[in-house]
Amino acid sequence: MTATVSPVLVLALAAAIFAVGLVGVLVRRNLFFVLMSLEIMLNAAGVAFVAAGAMRSQPDGQVMFLFIVTMAAAEVALGLALVLQLYRQLHTLDSDAAGEMKG
């Protein structure tokens, strides 16, 4: 019988992926890439939840992952709609172009 991997390793992987996503949010100026990096970070948080649940062999972590996926779907739908609207008004995806509050 094959055993599952250690959840601590998966937690480390989640931390690494989260850090990469954070770097992406901070470094990229294209709003599309910022949204993708946000997805990476949300997904890393979900991985951490599942790993924590696997530590005690409880289903709660996986339930939390389902909620995170739901929230990520809602966030992506709204975020992409905002990006589309911004592109129509400013004709660029540069996040710095949207720095002024005046529409």
């Binding site: 992926i17 993708m36 779907a73 589309l84 609207q85 129509r88």
Partner: protein
């Protein structure tokens, strides 16, 4: 199982780094999909088969399709055909294809060595479902509400400017 995990983890991390360093959004999306598929393998080795399946279906399937649609709407122009031709060179798709081939090899290995037994320490999907619809029932209701709010909000935000102009007093 450890080798499978380390391979998938390396692919996930490498593909994620490629996502945030690409210049072209479509290339980044390709790598993001590979990264999500690799994370599904990680979930499987962790003993969470239900979450692994949902990662592929919802994340790599539905959410990434949403990204592709938005990208298609943004990229309307005369140069799209030339751009499309430039995108289909082997230099661009070999990276994601190689990573996906390693994942395919892992899948084949898992299918061939599967003996019909559950892994030690794996959480049964039945338990997840039972917990979801008993302990976390309120959360499920709230999740449906947030999806409805996102649906209405996305429809409102993504409307054409002309429509908004007409309704403005």
């Amino acid at each position: 199982m450890d080798i499978v995990f380390f391979l998938a983890a390396a692919i996930a991390l490498g593909a994620t780094v490629m996502v945030i360093t690409r210049l072209n959004a479509v290339h980044a999306l390709l790598y993001l999909i590979v990264s999500l598929l690799a994370l599904a393998v990680v979930f499987f080795t962790l003993g969470a088969p239900l979450v692994a399946a949902l990662e592929v279906i919802i994340y790599a399937g539905a959410i990434m399709v949403l990204f592709v649609f938005a990208l298609m709407i943004l990229n309307l122009g005369k140069h799209t055909v030339a751009q499309e031709r430039a995108w289909l060179t082997p230099r661009i798709w070999t990276g994601p294809a190689l990573l996906a081939a390693v994942l395919l090899g892992e899948l084949g290995w898992a299918v061939l060595t599967y003996r019909g037994r559950a892994m030690a320490g794996a959480v049964d999907p039945t338990l997840v479902g039972a917990s979801l619809y008993s302990t976390y029932l309120l959360g499920v209701e709230l999740a449906s509400l947030i999806l409805l709010a996102a649906l209405v909000g996305a429809y409102h935000l993504a409307r054409r400017e002309e429509v908004a102009e007409e309704e403005r007093p």
